[in-house]
């Protein structure tokens, strides 16, 4: 009897160990490319092409970073990207807060239908919009300006709108009703009562907005041809396209690391918001 129970316990522990082992090896496999990127970015040329691959840089080739980052003006690319990303976050917050509040707090004819229409555009393949959008910006003489990347964000995005509306719906009406009775204007109520409560949702929107803008490649590539307007994403792509760069892996990885680190940092600081955002959008069935 005792032996039997022990056997069950052993089996249970063994299966637990197997599950953990599986999870750990999967997790390592997922992180390995990033670890290798960092390691390779610090290796000398002689070491980085060695087979089997080396994991510990020896000697540590710090010079890869200044070499890679000054070969093309990455400092300028960073400033460009920061400007675009900052403006996009501002636009996304402004337009989607207003629209989400409009959908969550007011009743007007056709409201729910409009909301569903907005949401369902998320299911339309965006590539079909590419050419007319380009032609529109071309006609406005906005090609080779940051406007095509920034202006659309001031006109709402279904995904972020949905996220914020869900949050606003959870704020009790009593709070805003009381403010109405006290005679606050609509915008003042939104600004002073609703937004302070919605800080977590605003953070989530800002993070998703940052990520999308920082990572965007197709937009900058199509709308910007002037080298001085390049974003980091475009810069990395051009860097990769330089002659001989196909074999200068260490510098390529140094430039990649520099592009990845800011996003990783934001992720490390605000992981909770990433997960919440992703989960919230998946609740829709």
């Amino acid at each position: 009897m005792a032996a039997n129970i022990r056997w069950i316990l052993v089996r249970r522990n063994a299966s637990k160990a197997v599950w953990h082992l599986l999870a750990i090896s999967g997790a390592i496999a997922m992180v390995l490319p990033l670890l290798w990127m960092i390691s390779a970015s610090l290796q000398t040329m002689a070491q980085v092409v060695r087979f089997p691959p080396a994991w510990i840089p020896d000697p540590i080739a710090w010079e890869n970073y200044p070499t890679a980052l000054t070969f093309l003006p990455f400092g300028l690319y960073f400033r460009n990207t920061l400007y675009v990303t900052g403006m996009v976050i501002l636009g996304d917050l402004l337009s989607n807060v207003l629209a989400a509040y409009g959908f969550a707090r007011y009743r007007f004819p056709g409201r729910d239908l409009l909301f569903v229409a907005l949401l369902s555009t998320m299911m339309l393949p965006g590539i079909v919009r590419l050419i007319p959008t380009y032609l529109l910006f071309h006609r406005l003489h906005w090609i080779n300006t940051f406007a095509p990347l920034i202006v659309p964000s001031f006109f709402g995005s279904p995904f972020l709108l949905f996220l914020l509306r869900q949050f606003f719906l959870g704020i009790p009406d009593d709070l805003t009703d009381a403010a109405h009775i006290d005679g606050g204007s609509e915008l003042a109520i939104l600004w002073r009562i609703v937004l302070p409560l919605a800080k977590p949702a605003l953070a989530t929107v800002a993070i998703f907005s940052f990520q999308a803008s920082w990572n965007d490649f197709m937009g900058p590539m199509i709308f910007l041809t002037d080298e001085r307007l390049r974003t980091v994403a475009l810069g990395l792509h051009s860097f990769k396209g330089l002659p001989y760069m196909n074999s200068l892996y260490n510098q390529l990885m140094a430039a990649s690391t520099v592009m990845v680190l800011p996003v990783l940092l934001v992720f490390a600081l605000f992981q909770r918001h990433f997960v919440q955002g992703v989960t919230l959008t998946g609740i829709r069935g």
Binding site: K16, W19, H20, A23, I28, M30, L32, P33, L34, W36, M37, A40, V48, F51, P52, P53, L98, A99, G102, F103, Y106, R107, F108, R111, V116, L118, M123, L124, P125, I127, V128, R129, L130, I131, P132, Y134, L135, H138, F154, F155, G156, F162, Q211, F217, M218, A233, L236, H237, L252, M253, M259, V260, V263, Q271, F274, V278, T279, G282, R284, G285
Partner: protein, 301 residues
Amino acid sequence: MAGEERLLRRREALYGLLFIAPALLGLLIFNLGPIVAALFFSFTKYSIITSPSWAGVANYQKAFSESLVSLSFENTAYYAVISVPLGIGLAFAVGMLLNRIKGAPIYRTAYYVPCVVPSVAAAVIWLVMLNPSVGLVNYFISLFGIKGPGWLIDPDWAKPGLILMSLWSIGTGMVLYLAGLQSVPEHLYEAAEIDGARPLRRFWAITVPMMTPTLFFHLVMGLIASFQAFNAPFIMTQGGPVRSTYFVSLLIYDNAFRYFKMGYASAISWILFVLVLVLTMVVLKTSSSWVYYEGGARGRF
């Protein structure tokens, strides 16, 4: 009194419309407008320098007769049909695994991290990962005494290479499944266990049905995204070798921005648009037979 009520109502509606006005304009200018405009341009010959001239269905006739077009659609379908189910299966499996063990938050972080890596950086990293002679992937294969394939330089292996890379970002799906699994009511499993249902039976009778809304969502969004895959093939292979990773998105890009055939490119993008829409509709239509909504609430947001 009734008049005052109506006034209040009207005021409320006005405010509501005012608040959503930018988003509505955005819907028209940057979303629906361009889609309709693309349909119009698809019936014209348009090279930007000259104004569009009516061409009837010539663009569509050309698209349906060109072998490069059918090849790009085949490539895209191959990629989508394999990478989407694989991604769903793997994300679901990892979600199940993490739901079962302690310490899930740490693992969850590790599995999700690749999803925040910018696609250009991911493409550059995987270009080296998949390098046949110095890449990590072939190194790990070589540990089993097998010589790895040429991946992105071999026409037969380039698409599998891109599919393998796409599995690096299963994290988003995994987070969804993990959240879904954690919200399956425990009492369902307890009841099944009392009834003597074995683990496999519990999986098929409880877990899978409860997860079908998430699976369905993932399937639809995954298909839509993979049919438009652009960054990885554009950056890593430029459609090669021998056009083996020439996807529809690259065909559209080349025609629009290399050859300035805006009309022709619009026609191809509308063919892709209709194809994806039909696929989505098929999945939606069949969903009633396999997607289970608890409490019968359908179409809720």
